[in-house]
Subunit: 458 residues, 2 copies
Amino acid sequence: MIRSYKRFAAIAAAVLCSGSAFAQSNADRIIDYELANSRAYETLSHLTDNIGPRLSGSKNAGLAVTWTTKTLRDWGLNAQNQAVMVPHWVRGVEHGSLVSHNDQKIVLTALGGSIATPANGITADVIEVASYDELAKLGRAKIAGKIVFYNRAMDMQMVESGQAFAAYSEAVEFRSTGASHAAEYGAVASVIRSVASASLRTPHTGAMRYDEKQPKIPAAAMTTEDADLVHRLLAKGERVRLHLVLTPKTLPDVESANVIAEIRGSEHPDEVVLIGGHLDSWDLGTGAIDDGAGAVMVMETLRVLKELGIQPKRTIRGVLFMNEENGLRGGHKYFDTAAAREEVHKHIAAIETDAGAAPPVGFITTLEGAALSRMQIRARVLSRIAPIVFTSSKHTGADTSPLTDAGVPGFGLVPDPRHYFDFHHTPADTLDKIDPKALAQNTAALAALAYLIAEDGL
Amino acid sequence: MIRSYKRFAAIAAAVLCSGSAFAQSNADRIIDYELANSRAYETLSHLTDNIGPRLSGSKNAGLAVTWTTKTLRDWGLNAQNQAVMVPHWVRGVEHGSLVSHNDQKIVLTALGGSIATPANGITADVIEVASYDELAKLGRAKIAGKIVFYNRAMDMQMVESGQAFAAYSEAVEFRSTGASHAAEYGAVASVIRSVASASLRTPHTGAMRYDEKQPKIPAAAMTTEDADLVHRLLAKGERVRLHLVLTPKTLPDVESANVIAEIRGSEHPDEVVLIGGHLDSWDLGTGAIDDGAGAVMVMETLRVLKELGIQPKRTIRGVLFMNEENGLRGGHKYFDTAAAREEVHKHIAAIETDAGAAPPVGFITTLEGAALSRMQIRARVLSRIAPIVFTSSKHTGADTSPLTDAGVPGFGLVPDPRHYFDFHHTPADTLDKIDPKALAQNTAALAALAYLIAEDGL
């Protein structure tokens, strides 16, 4: 008797957990439609090839806002712009050479937000460290007047085992805060080893930020090849002197915008499932993987739902965030506006896609335990695309982090991450890195998940 | 009876073909010694890391002559310099942007020997062709005033199946002669797709030459990503206008040198087995695979023979050629000098190593038929390093081509070629692409083959 009750309860729970047959059937339709009729690649091709790099504050970033807004409207969607002031940092000349070694060129790129060197550059001895502890141990006596070289490589075993984002997080701290740490001990500039899982003398840029309590010093990233060269020369006991010229400028903030469009919910229009990617990119490449692909998946999700005439009970809101890369101003603007309207708690989920478009492998989510298991069951229809696995994570995306920090359940689409950091923040982040089929698969996964949650709730 | 005679003959032939037991035993010692005590990587590290890029005519190319000469002498070898005048081409600014598409940057590099654009650049429509036939069909009416874009990709099936050099030969003709072909129809510049088997927005330079009957126009190579971008835009029917600024200069010729050292033969010192690599490199990288590795294998072969006290019957002469990349002046100087002394016919073999240092897979050789089979048998001792296969080829190396064209039997060392054109002529040709173990294996193969031929004749 107890046994059969348990069995009954298990079946009942499974039925309750698995979502409505209606929603499952519509999710099926969405997946079929996207896989057969995707226009995601075509949209991405315009964004990357015709518009090009889209760094916040640039002319192209503005063009991207205008064009995506118009395109969504052409598709019959109510696209709106949410104005936001963004930083306007402009890369200038970037030149490195080893004056100690026949003026060999050092291939490097300025980190986003860096100040310029004096016009005639900085020439100083290079001192290598692998950690802030090592920096502190060397202290002002050894660091003052030098260029600090942070030589922390990505852990390739982690990358190859699928933990590329964790490996990135470990290595990237020197990019973010290395300059100010070095400045604390009197360094005149800081140069990191590019945070990279592959290189053909390929520099990786990315945002850095200054600690206002420390003097500001220029910050750049060398390619892994150049980092290896400097390391080998220092390991031989040689004196290595680097001449560094960087001429970036920080111009006044520029008005830009998040682009927002939605499929209004039929029963609970004020309850929102947010799907978001970002429209800005770094300036070196054309931002195909970071994050043209994500922005286009969001646009395409709305297009497909519109074309299929599928209207879930709750609203699906697509947001193309501005300025994810060097300020997160768009993400904060969206949150602050929602907070001011007391609408944060009406977000029942925030799904971000900002990890490229290799074949999809799953979603990370702030859900845990039984809720995570239920989601895996409810999303079983996604297994038609690929074996989609839901995994718990505290952090599911940058633009949506203000929402998830406030308690909104978060999701992040996870394409196969193993090669993402081959291209991330480099000149090689271009459309040829995108497989149209995998882009459609990612879009199908995003669209189906957003729909399932909007239809049946979380 | 006939059958047993045949058998006897076969055995006798096998013994005769297989070389002396003395030579085989010494070849064994050479291989053992090099694999256990190689200093090739250390030598290469100085050439690439401490000296750096070594384009003909540059200060660094001169330093490379001085340092390799001194190093060989430090090793007890009689290194001499054979003076040769070399071209002195200096790369300047190189800048490309799509004025038709928001001034997107086009990553490109000037081809070696190219003239400069006017100081304010050239701006013109781009027209794409895949062959000289297509160019001729379009004719002056379509080509005049335009920038011709040769979009011939390397055949990746050939590359992956081990035929990378054949795939290179097919694709490279537009780099060599494309500018003058385009100029014949009134083009104002020519841009090729980089001859590349991999790219992270990586430009591949290389020599071009002008047909003196045609106007000279600037010539550059775009990365494969940029070639794909321009191709996609043109395929959409869009007008593509490229702004191109190149400021290379051809300065007066500079006196440089081939570096020559030898192990004199004990019985026939005037009979020479030449082993050669080249000391010059392109300027973008540090020439680790092209051809620092080859130059160092030659130096190391002489060092090992010297240290082991092995003196073959015939002379082994190592030549570090100057100016392989953009003129072949060193190769011609060596040949012309030998010809003037009537010593060409005293070269019993010329072995070139200019194909990188991936694990060795064999040698190409001008030998054919029975001679080829005998060589395979004689060199069986090399199979201790790797399965070394001898394959017939008309062309076995550039620097030694004047010798082989004159009938000297030629050999070319063949490391695994599948990734050579990932790095060839790019900024990414750096020491980290070299595996010390594979470098020693290649050196062992080169040294053992040179010794076997010098001891037992060909």
